[in-house]
Amino acid sequence: MLTILFDGIAYGMLLFILACGLTITLGLMNVINLAHGAFAMAGGYITVVLMNSYGVSFYWCLPIAFLAVGLAGLVLERLLYRHLYSKPHLDQVLFSVGLVFMSVAGAYYFMGGQQQMIQLPQELSGRWDLYGVGIGRYRLFIVLVCVLLTIVLQLLLTKTRFGSQLRAAVDDGRVARGLGINVSAVFALTFAVGSGLAGLGGAMGTEILGLDPNFPLKFMIYFLIVVTVGGTSSITGPFLAALLLGIADVAGKYYVPQIGAFVIYGVMVVVLLLRPHGLFSREGGR
């Protein structure tokens, strides 16, 4: 029972790492970026290639995946996404779905359609038995990284100069520009961080979620659910939502496997019925 709870928490935390980048781009910048999963997949493939072909250590792969995908995000933002901020939501949806399709086809072309495997370091595999509660070491690692990440992000957004610049740029770009904030640069950097986080999540999720070219399509809905259920006005909302959904999903798949996949959609529909703007958002938020 507690083992399932722990697995659920770890799964939720993983979902959060994957989705928090989306919280930033979607929630703060108001860009409906369905291609978030494609960035995550890129992180996963970078890890796979580095580990399996070049023998790079898993711990090094994580920051490399973060930086590489972040850089890719930066380039894409400057080239393409920049033009989307002022367009209607329909255009953003079309654009990002297009990007997803291209990335899926690209992954097939370069990596083939099979599931990719990675070998975790010795000290991360296996599980401890703590008073009858099975604690997977890798899952514990995920929880630790996630907690760290949440704290850093929260501080970054609320306490630093960059955070307040970003919030100002989001709330009213024109006034922010008038105050001497380089809105375009702030947005570019934020987008880069958001996609970098997706890359990191993808790198960490390879072991648990699996990795194949359909990754962006398969998990797109999960990331979006986390963000919509959590509300898009804070980091803590999606964090709690990810935990809730992770536990519900793992418990659902364990106890009622026949309807396992419905649990997460069911939770989403119920939450959106009760609170159309998400569980933890201010009234009238986006």
């Binding site: 329909l90 079309l94 086809a105 690209g106 097939y108 989403m268 529909v269 159309p276 986006r286």
Partner: protein
């Protein structure tokens, strides 16, 4: 005073009537579609696919183009109609036209129920709920293997002759005539719907919900109605697919179907019904031509087209003739929108 008012009413009626009149390009399109039965006998299956895709896209246009509701899960109703028609033919009655009505009723009811979800929240919430409904249904189709055949699909459907008279032939000619007839009738109904005062009020809601509410347009009811109608349309499109292929699989509910129909509509142009038909022709022919290579790479090209459309700008594509000399543009426009019984100069 009352004279001025009745004059305004007359003018409004006249405007509605004129909006409803047939244009030359519409007549030409339908003649071409009917002529294809004799001109392209070897392409019947492709043409059937076009007709079905067009109907599906028109259904999406009703909610997206006229009511402004962004949907990422329109395949939900398409798939529901497909399954309804398949199960109906298998267990109840093999005659297809009855099956179409059954599918329309099932999908329409589902659309009615779903419309209450769609009414709430912002664009993002709508995207999520529509997507969520479609995925839930896909999962349901997969799980209820005893009824739907699960991932293998529902096979062993025998479709009787249409109205008990016209049996489906081997070359798909009956299938095409059948689909085209359904498309024609439903487009005809949809034209009347969107050119009526009801359709105008939908456009008002889309353009400015606050102002629409100020002139006492009940936005809630209108959206529920149009969403239900659109769902029934999508259900008929799905049923047509079942009838012409005698097969249903969970693929009819897949995400790529929702994305494809969005693309079809956007290629053709949102908000004038015929966009769906034009888009369906372009999209299906393009896919037929490109899918010589594998499906995975076809996805790459879809993606590229989507991105190009967004970056170029949808409005700019709709004004494709803008690079022609002004006089030629005007000529094309007049000719295309000419109505029987009007002089060329008069038509808008």
């Amino acid at each position: 005073m009352s004279g001025a008012r009745s004059e305004a009413r007359d003018r409004a009626t006249e405007q509605l009537r004129r909006g409803n009149a047939w244009r030359l390009y519409e007549i030409a399109l339908w003649i071409a579609a009917a002529a294809a039965i004799f001109v392209l006998p070897s392409k019947m299956l492709l043409l059937t696919e076009i007709a079905i895709t067009a109907l599906f896209a028109i259904s999406l246009d009703l909610v997206l183009g006229y009511a402004g509701i962004v949907s990422l899960g329109h395949a939900a109703f398409f798939g529901l109609g497909a399954y309804a028609a398949g199960l109906f033919a298998k267990h109840v009655f093999a005659e297809p036209v009855t099956g179409l009505f059954a599918a329309a009723v099932v999908s329409g009811l589902a659309g009615f129920a779903a419309s209450f979800l769609v009414l709430r929240g912002s664009d993002l919430t709508r995207l999520m709920t529509t997507l969520g409904i479609a995925l839930m249904l896909a999962e349901l189709a997969n799980q209820l293997a005893w009824a739907t055949g699960g991932a293998d699909g529902l096979s062993g459907i025998t479709i009787g002759p249409i109205l008990g008279v016209f049996a489906f032939d081997l070359w798909g000619r009956t299938g095409y005539v059948y689909s085209l007839a359904a498309l024609f009738i439903l487009t005809f109904v949809a034209r009347h719907l969107v050119n009526s005062s009801f359709g105008l009020s939908l456009r008002a809601i889309k353009a400015n919900p606050v102002r629409a509410a100020m002139v006492a347009i009940p936005a809630r009811n209108r959206i529920i109605v149009i969403y239900t109608v659109a769902a029934a349309y999508a259900g008929v499109a799905g049923a047509l697919l079942t009838h012409t292929t005698s097969f249903v699989s969970p693929d009819v509910l897949a995400f790529h179907r929702s994305a494809d129909v969005l693309l079809v509509l956007v290629i053709g142009g949102v908000g004038y019904l015929y966009g769906g038909i034009v888009g369906a022709v372009i999209f299906t022919v393009l896919r037929d031509w490109l899918s010589v290579s594998t499906p995975q790479y076809w996805m790459f090209w879809i993606g590229l087209i989507l991105i190009a459309i967004v970056l170029i700008g949808r409005e700019r594509i709709a004004r494709w003739d803008s690079f022609l000399p002004a006089s030629l543009q005007l000529g094309i426009k007049r000719l295309a929108t000419w109505r029987p019984g009007a002089t060329l100069r008069e038509s808008r």
